[in-house]
Symmetry: C2
Subunit: 227 residues, 2 copies
DNA sequence: AACTTACCAATTGTCGACAATTTATATGTG
DNA sequence: CACATATAAATTGTCGACAATTGGTAAGTT
């Protein structure tokens, strides 16, 4: 399976490696959300100089995982309910656009691959009940392929390289509850059909709705924490 | 008048200054589009070390004005017709969203200010025929205020700090032709009315259409160059 | 005890130098 | 002469050290 949203760009330089490593740690939560980042400490930990670490921090800032203040320093982004809403409003709009474009621009074999992915997804889901990892990766791959199907390089970059890391962070750290899985499957199916019929308007609407449902799901976690 | 999209964040550090200076030069074209950037050369020119310059280059990359390749270097973005389409598809989607949100979230006095701006715009336009600078700034300010009126911090950052510099670059270097001015005024007026009536759906649609018209206008320039 | 001020430690910003990589030039071979 | 190879120059990536700024601590005043 393609590894979605884990950046297919080759890791050539040392700061690339630090960037990828830190990104993973932040998304997965082993570097805690909202925590302050000490440049000397992390530079030592990754075995690089501060210059290299700062290069990585800049890249992390570009994908919204850390926030910087001049002469003060860096903090890991905090996962708040407010930010979730803001980010998902943007995501819904952009991925709706991607889906509409995909309905026009996806190649037949790409659509075919998408269908195969969904079948595979279905089988995996049946066999491994409760095991959420594969479902997670499968869902990401689904979105990933549609975004790429838009053939809009700017949009692809914006979603895959910049925004999706933060979305993954919410999903990984807040988690997804169970009953959503089968519903998501049906929604994915409907979206594929719309794309196959080149019905961009419908595809966009279905994708937006699908993402809204996903948002509501995560929102639940915040509501539970607040009570 | 508020200076839209020229970043209200205070300039504290040296790399801030270089970033702002270079940004202006790139947007205005005095650093040519598509040209290679030599770090040693520019560092000397701005009187800073390469580390400081590279910090600025990272920020410029975040707002899509330069592109980087590992071990190769930096190039100023090239203004192509394809990219224009891609960027404006994204802009239309996001600013449509902003406009819809603004219809719900703008304070009455903000709407009032928007109307005043439009009146001011009208007068300026009558007095200074052909003088496109004020019209340009006025139009940017108009969009700027609506985006801020969305009250979505992530969206505001995305549009004002990241995307709009590239859009300004197209506008400044490709230019806007004449007859569009008065039409744009009418379109602005219709958008304000929709916002005032809290008709988000209509406001979004009008904004998208307004931006499409703007795109078509710039597209004309490319078509002229191609013949 | 509360508040201000001065100092100190720690952190970030910036610099110049070195190492690694790429690009251009020159040399050699079919 | 075209092409591949090797060498050299230039550029980017990385490092360690110093300067500037910030946040906290302690001393001092009312």
């Amino acid at each position: 399976m393609t590894q979605p949203f884990l950046n297919d760009t080759p890791i050539t330089t040392a700061s690339d490696q630090v960037f990828v490593d830190m990104r993973r740690e932040i998304v997965e939560g082993s570097i805690e959300q909202g925590s302050k980042i000490s440049e000397p400490e992390l530079a030592k930990r990754y075995g690089v100089s501060r210059a290299t670490l700062r290069e990585a921090l800049n890249r992390l800032e570009s994908c919204y995982l850390v926030e910087r203040k001049a002469n003060v320093g860096c903090r890991v982004v905090a996962l708040t309910a407010e930010r979730l809403i803001e980010v998902y409003q943007v995501r819904s709009s952009l991925e709706g656009l991607a889906c509409r474009l995909a309905a026009d621009n996806m190649e037949p074999e790409e659509v075919k691959g998408l269908k195969q992915l969904l079948n595979q997804h279905l089988q995996t889901q049946r066999v491994k009940e409760g095991e959420s990892y594969y479902q997670e990766a499968g869902d990401l791959d689904f979105h990933y392929r549609i975004i790429k199907g838009s053939k809009n390089a700017h949009l692809i970059h914006l979603l895959c390289n910049e925004l999706y890391q933060l979305i993954r962070m919410y999903r990984v750290q807040m988690g997804m509850v169970g009953p959503r899985v089968s519903k998501a499957f049906d929604e994915h199916l409907a979206i594929i059909n719309a794309i196959e019929n080149h019905d961009g308007e419908l595809a966009e609407m279905l994708m937006k709705r699908h993402i809204s449902a996903s948002q509501a799901n995560i929102q639940t976690k915040f509501d539970l924490l607040a009570k």
